[in-house]
């Protein structure tokens, strides 16, 4: 069953119909409360599973991004430094030729 596609309107319809069918009394109230708490408990449990999976995935992504940082940095620094050195050399050569 795809829990993401559960239609909440159908669940509410079922609960309201159940109340009507039981036709009043303490049994009706008890059944209604049990149904509501049952749905709430299921909802809580399902969200707990989703939260745990998301939290684990967030942690995995964070660790991966943080571990990648030094490599990205070293690559950028090496290339940027080389470019800056070459430009300084070109400027230096140009100034020497101008003298």
């Amino acid at each position: 069953m795809d829990l993401e596609k559960l239609d909440i309107n159908k669940i509410i319809d079922a609960l309201v119909n159940l109340l009507r069918a039981m036709n009043g009394g303490w049994a009706t109230v008890a059944a209604f409360l049990l149904s509501v708490f049952g749905v709430a408990a299921f909802w809580w449990w399902w969200n707990k599973i989703k939260d745990k999976a998301a939290k684990d995935e967030t942690e995995r992504k964070r660790r991966e991004d943080q571990a990648k940082n030094p490599k990205d940095n070293a690559d950028a620094e090496r290339d940027g430094k080389k470019a800056a050195d070459e430009i300084e050399e070109i400027i230096h050569d140009s100034e020497r030729q101008g003298e």
Binding site: L15, Q66, A76, G80, I91
Partner: protein
């Protein structure tokens, strides 16, 4: 009874929660969004600082903005920084650099926010990336720098302010570029096309270093990040100021709206607002898309 039930269930499920972001995450799309304060400016994702050789690095005042609470990882091989610092209360984290400037370095940040409802949203919270490029120049020399974030495959232009009118030699190196052309200034500027330096069809970042070889050379840095065409930067929110309040309505994917240090987990909210003072408004999605508004009598938006 029916409507009461619907209202109860809806409020339980939706009120004040983080929301999914339908757009691919910023960090995976090659779009840096960490909020950087460097050399007296606030930028999103990228910054360039120039410093004269021998001047103290701490004068650059490089910091990164934290969101709610979390961890900031800071790395720079050349500036010898490899650290992870925790922050809270939406504070900024200072890059630990000091001593005289001797060589270029790139300071990379990864900001990993931990929002108050991280654990009750069932959503993956993505980190934010940023980079500050420090260019060391000889004392007394002039420099021009620009950061560009460009959708991959598209062209971008670098306009270098230049008052002379005679054709001038312009050179560029970096990221495989070997550019050496004589350009004629027009309307007080020299224009360089990204595609003449390098075609960027993949997601990647490049630091181009160059020089305008006039009578007095001008050093130029162009930091370009080419991001995935699937990525969409966050749009500017609707704002209204009325009766000492600021009303903000952002697009549906926005999960966090903050004015200065006041946070709200929503995409539509209001804050107490004094228009005579300066403020910073921040919007964030769980995918790391960011929009920043600086208030100084009117809004200046950055993303």
């Amino acid at each position: 009874m029916r409507y009461l039930l619907v209202a109860f269930l809806w409020l339980t499920a939706c009120a004040g929660n983080l929301k999914p972001d339908p757009v691919p995450g910023a960090i995976d799309s090659g779009y840096p969004t960490a909020e950087i304060l460097a050399c007296g400016k606030r930028t999103v994702g990228l910054a360039i600082c120039t410093i004269a050789q021998g001047d103290p690095l701490e004068t650059l005042g490089i910091r990164v903005q934290g969101y709610y609470k979390g961890v900031v990882k800071i790395d720079s091989e050349a500036c010898s920084i490899h650290t992870a610092q925790r922050y809270d209360n939406s504070s900024t984290v200072k890059a630990p650099i000091s001593g005289p400037a001797t060589k270029e370095c790139a300071i990379d940040f990864v900001v990993s926010p931990e929002y108050p409802k991280d654990t009750s949203s069932g959503l993956v919270i993505q980190s934010l990336k940023g980079r500050v490029w420090i260019r060391v120049i000889p004392p007394g020399s002039s420099h021009f720098g620009l950061n560009t974030k460009i959708r991959q495959g598209l062209n971008a232009f670098l306009d270098i302010p230049y008052s002379d009118t005679t054709p001038t030699r312009v050179v560029f190196r970096g990221c495989g570029a070997s550019y050496d052309k004589t350009l004629t200034p027009a309307n007080g500027k020299l224009r360089v096309a990204l595609h003449d330096l390098r075609n960027m069809f993949r997601v990647e970042d490049c630091i181009f270093e160059g020089a305008v070889m006039g009578r007095t050379p001008i050093r130029v840095t162009w930091q370009v990040w080419s991001y995935s065409e699937k990525f969409l930067p966050l749009s500017i929110p609707t704002t209204r100021i009325s009766g000492g309040k600021l009303y903000v309505k952002a697009e549906a994917a926005v999960s966090v709206i903050a004015l200065d240090r006041d946070y709200s987990i929503t995409n539509e909210t209001e804050f107490d607002f004094d228009p005579s003072r300066s403020h910073v408004l921040r919007l964030a999605t769980v995918g790391g898309r960011i929009m920043i508004g600086e208030w100084n009598g009117s809004w200046t938006w950055k993303n």
